[in-house]
């Protein structure tokens, strides 16, 4: 029953793709799309650079921050700290871009800064929550065996929180890639150039030449971080690798 349903859905999906393909071929969309292929390659590289730099910086800041907030000493201030970071997510990315432009000027630097801010929270929160959810008795056992705090963190806490931490990184980076097009608005470059220009000129093929690679990039980042999680999280605590 369940199987046949998904089979029908699959067939319907394929039909739809086929019809879309035929339609876009007829309307010259595909031809138009490939007209921009050089731009696509160049801007995709720029797009990935922006993503990689801002995402990388965000990870480098967020993970130590999450670890620090999970230490007993900082726990009292952890929630208020988290609220502060929350602002980075609550305020629209466009507004952050505008604000960072006002003191960092235009170009890729303010774009990277703004993307960083917008990406930080999911990683910090997941690191923090992941570490806090490591059962107390594991830490007691580790203490009782004579591990130092650093050994407990590296050998017990982080490996057990890694899956949740990866989930945070995955969400954050996917959002990041999807947000990079906005960087074009402050001169940061990236595939936003095709999207926004396409909108302004009312050029459907140009718009799609920016939008489709952006979505493909986002999906591939999602998949590759997922793959990393699959490979790096120890098998004993990796829900992707054991049967329930």
């Amino acid at each position: 029953m369940q199987k046949s349903k998904s089979k029908y859905a699959w067939i319907a999906g394929m039909m739809l793709m086929f019809v879309l393909g035929v339609w876009s071929q007829n309307s010259g969309l595909i031809e138009g799309f490939f007209y921009y292929s050089e731009d696509i390659i160049y801007l995709s590289k720029q797009h990935m650079q922006l993503s990689a730099i801002s995402g990388g910086i965000a990870i480098l800041i967020a993970i130590p921050l999450g670890i620090m907030l999970s230490r007993p000493r900082f726990r009292p201030i952890a929630e208020s700290m988290m609220q502060l970071l929350n602002i980075g997510t609550t305020v629209p990315t466009l507004a952050i871009l505008a604000l960072s432009m006002s003191f960092l000027g235009i170009g890729s630097t303010p774009a990277i800064f703004a993307l960083c801010i917008a990406t930080l929270l999911p990683i910090v929160r997941n690191t923090y929550v992941g570490l806090l959810s490591v059962p107390e008795h594991l830490i007691e056992a580790a203490n009782g065996m004579g591990m130092s705090s650093m050994q407990i963190l590296l050998r017990v806490e982080i490996p057990n929180a890694l899956y949740v931490m990866f989930a945070g990184i995955r969400t954050a980076l996917t959002i990041n890639v999807g947000t990079v097009p906005l960087a074009f608005l402050i001169g940061g470059g990236g595939l936003g150039e095709l999207i926004f220009t396409g909108i302004d000129l009312d050029e459907m093929p140009m718009l799609l030449a920016g939008a489709i690679p952006t979505s493909l990039l986002a999906v591939s980042v999602d998949i590759s971080v997922g793959l990393l999680a699959f490979l790096l999280v120890p098998r004993g605590v990796n829900p992707l690798r054991y049967k329930q």
Partner: protein, 382 residues
């Protein structure tokens, strides 16, 4: 050897100072299991955790093998004490082999040494090393996990082990099996063990010494038999239960209580011979054994007096036989279920070794009270 000297722990709470452990003094000899027993919140776990400073003591000292542990660095101290907790606490991110090797690795053993040690320990608890070394904790049953928890604590061969309700989370059947396994291991390992429990039956089974706690105070520190026979106050009496003398049955073996090797008769002996033995030795009955010395029946005075012929032709069959290694509890149970007051005792080869009677058991259990009465009388006289 572990010695606690005025060990005290107080907590400051908004309602005032709470004393979790109040001037605890006790000495546990090398190779002994001491069970800390009491209701929850009595201070037994706090006392245990002060030994490896999971709970730092407010005052007082802990000596291990005569060495004052307050002079040691906390991390070194903990690496030299085996620690087993109720939740087992296996690290789910590590394989079984890695879990067992945690402390050896911390101590800087090389790989061949700690791998060999892990294999040896797994074999000791009858878990096939080849199968289990590379598994993860979640792939094991509760009982298997608990065994790993215990051998992990043994990995670096510490002299002292602390066990906080180690078998508390296992179902009763598996618990009994693991307790037996553990006691067997302990016979060869001879570790000095502090063991927290809230279960009086577990304590009686495992302990060489029992320390009963209540409201942070050590109430009585004694051998299990003494604790059951002479509880020092109403609290201990209630805690050990009204059937405490029945519990003592578990502490004695048949070999300690039986009448050793009374003269048996053989099949070919004449009934007159049996009667003679009974007269000479003042027995009311005599046991009949086969050519290998295994008991097959019994002959009493009436039978021997009223019949003529060989013993092998006139005897009563046996209702039950006790093994010399059985505890008195199973003997008593067997007596009740077979409606008999007397049983022959055999060794592991089935050879007749002695006799045990209900009277003998009662006499054995009462001995400690008679001794106390005699001491009291002596004290009064002097």
């Amino acid at each position: 050897m572990i010695r606690l000297e005025n060990l005290t722990k107080t907590f400051e709470t908004p309602e005032g100072i709470i004393t979790a452990a109040d001037n605890i003094n006790m000495t546990v000899g090398k190779g002994e299991i001491c069970v800390l027993l009491g209701p929850s919140g009595c201070g037994k776990t706090t006392t245990l955790k002060m030994l490896n400073r999971i709970v730092p003591p407010t005052s007082g000292k802990v000596f291990i093998d005569g060495e004052d542990t307050s002079t040691l660095n906390t991390i070194d101290l903990r690496r030299n004490i085996g620690y087993v907790i109720q939740q087992i606490g296996l690290f789910p991110n590590m394989t079984i082999a890695e879990n067992i090797s945690v402390v050896p690795k911390l101590l800087g053993w090389d790989k061949t040494r700690y791998t060999a040690r892990a294999e040896e320990l797994l074999a000791m608890v009858a878990l096939e090393p080849k199968t289990f070394m590379r598994r993860f904790p979640r792939e094991l049953s509760g009982g298997q996990q608990q065994r790993i928890g215990v051998i992990r604590a043994l990995a670096a061969d510490p002299e002292v082990m602390l066990m906080d309700e180690p078998f508390g989370a296992i179902d009763p059947i598996n618990r009994a099996v693991i307790q037996d396994e553990f006691l067997k291991m302990q016979q060869t390992l001879q570790k000095t063990i502090l063991f927290v429990s809230h279960d009086i039956d577990e304590a009686i089974k495992m302990a060489d010494k029992i320390a009963i706690f209540d409201e942070g105070k050590l109430i009585q520190f004694d051998s299990p038999d003494n604790l059951l026979a002479h509880p020092c106050n109403k609290f201990v009496e209630n805690f050990v239960g009204s059937d405490r003398t029945l519990k003592r049955l578990r502490l004695a073996k048949v070999s300690e209580v039986m009448t050793p090797a009374p003269t048996p008769v053989k099949r070919d002996d004449d009934l007159q011979h049996a009667l003679k033995i009974m007269h000479e030795r003042d027995y009311i009955a005599v046991t009949l054994v086969d050519e290998f010395g295994r008991p097959i029946g019994t002959i009493n005075r009436d039978l021997a007096g009223s019949k003529r012929g060989r013993c092998g032709d006139h005897f009563y069959g046996l209702r039950a036989i006790a093994n010399v290694n059985d505890d008195l509890r199973s003997v008593a149970s067997s007596m009740f279920s077979n409606d008999t007051t007397w049983m022959p005792c055999v060794d592991d080869d089935g050879v007749f070794r002695g006799e045990i009677s209900q009277r003998g058991v009662t006499h054995y259990l009462g001995a400690t009270y008679r001794r106390q009465e005699r001491d009291n009388t002596l004290n009064r006289e002097t």
